[in-house]
């Protein structure tokens, strides 16, 4: 595939890794924000290519994983409402809530449908005018513009039974929250590639300016990630932290203005509740008053019992980079992709799922 295969060359990857090894004199901790990067790093065995001085931690960039248990319970409670269809991206279905899951609700008769795109949810609403269709809006800035576009499409078509439960989250504020907490000392951040296609690199500027930490936005192929690692290690060795784009074929400093415009047209910034992190101010997106008729919070109010985390699950620590999936006692024994205990084992971007899938077959360094 063009724009993919060229960035997978194994010989070049080994050369780059040797250069990073030659450059790196002191131990550093790099966090890959994005769950897509976590999977690529494990899939291509990048941790084994890197020198022992470079430690990688996964971050909160898995939308399913960081959805707070209380929000998840809300979505599940809505699924049990009469005359309601839940439309959701597939990852959400298997995530265990405090008392049930969307999968269980479905088994008990709820109408839960997996969609590939928010547009599909609009079509379901159009074809089922007597039902309320609630789309579970999870995801970061990559996803939010597509949801905004779907709301505008429903508006244009006069579809009034399409509702969005907005759990959308914003990247820069949670990076700030992690840096403020200081729980894990980070020397560099691998910035999310596809979030940045939308928001650009400018919103991350504070990372180097206020915290003296470098942030390099990366693509998802192995050479992209190694190029990013090389850039970060060089910055750290020279003591010159900067915000840079190592994925310029996709990311511009100013981002995608049209996507940002639609996102701002439909959403207002508000607080968001993150699993393992809690409420982070200005880190979420709420549907604006002008589009309140599309807001599932208003159309389908529910008040589930107080939420609880799955017992023994360390997903909350994993998304903060404070624990590695292998530090969870349930990993691979009680908790597997077939019977997941927490969302980090369910999602295609969850760190536990990545470790489970790739760590055993390529002998990844268990650290």
């Amino acid at each position: 595939m063009k724009f993919v295969d060229e960035y997978q060359d194994s010989e070049l990857a080994h050369k780059l890794a040797r250069r990073i090894t030659a450059l790196s004199t002191k131990p550093v901790v790099l966090m890959e924000f994005c769950g897509g990067h976590t999977h690529a790093i494990l899939r291509y065995g990048i941790r084994q290519l890197l020198p022992d001085t470079v430690e990688m931690r996964s971050g909160p960039g898995c939308p399913v994983c960081v959805t707070a248990p209380a929000d998840l319970d809300k979505a599940i409670a809505i699924a049990y409402l009469p005359d309601t269809i839940i439309a959701t991206f597939g990852d959400m279905v298997k995530v265990p809530g405090s008392r049930s899951s969307l999968q269980q609700a479905k088994a008990e008769g709820a109408d839960v449908r997996i969609v590939y795109s928010a547009m599909d949810a609009v079509s379901i609403a159009e074809n089922n005018p007597e039902k309320s269709v609630v789309f579970i809006g999870i995801g970061f800035e990559t996803t939010a513009p597509t949801i905004a576009a779907s709301v505008l499409k429903a508006d244009e078509k006069g579809i009034s039974n399409f509702h969005v439960l907005s759990f959308h989250k914003l990247t820069p504020p949670v990076v700030k929250a992690l840096l403020n907490s200081g729980e894990t000392k980070l020397d560099g951040i691998i910035g999310p590639g596809h979030v940045s296609v939308v928001i650009g690199s400018q919103p991350y500027q504070f990372i180097s300016e206020d915290y003296g930490v470098g942030c390099v936005i990366s693509g998802f192929e192995p050479l992209d990630i190694l190029l990013t690692g090389d850039n970060l290690v060089e910055q750290i060795e020279k003591g010159e932290p900067r915000v840079e784009i190592a994925y310029p074929r996709g990311v511009k400093p100013e981002g995608n203005k049209q996507a940002l415009k639609l996102m701002q047209q439909v959403f207002d910034v508000g607080e968001a509740n993150w699993r393992g992190i809690g409420i982070v101010p200005e880190s979420g997106l709420k549907i604006r008053a002008e589009y309140a008729r599309f807001d599932a919070d208003i159309a389908s109010p529910v008040s589930p019992e107080p939420a609880k985390e799955p017992e023994g699950c360390r997903c909350g620590d994993v998304v903060r980079g404070a624990a590695n999936p292998l530090e969870c006692k349930l990993f691979g024994k009680v908790c597997t992709p077939e019977s997941p205990v927490g969302p980090c084992m369910v999602s295609n971007e969850g760190a536990c799922a990545a470790y489970y899938k790739y760590a055993s077959d390529n002998g990844a360094r268990y650290d």
């Binding site: 063009k2 960035y7 050369k15 999870i138 995801g139 996709g250």
Partner: protein
Amino acid sequence: MCLAVPVKVISINGDEAEVDASGVKRRVSIVLTPEVNVGDYVLLYTGYAIGVLDQNEAQETLNLLEEIADFSEIR
């Protein structure tokens, strides 16, 4: 969930485009990338083109990769 794949735009019709995704033709929304032209590659994400890929920058990155990889061999 943030994984987007590069696909080639074959034709454009209003706010939709037909793209070639590894040999499979699909219709995608281009409301987020109105500047796109036939022949461009876009990043396809859940039915929407979220960005247009920059072919010059793509080549620049490959050049840079070669350059710094060779540099590692000299040292």
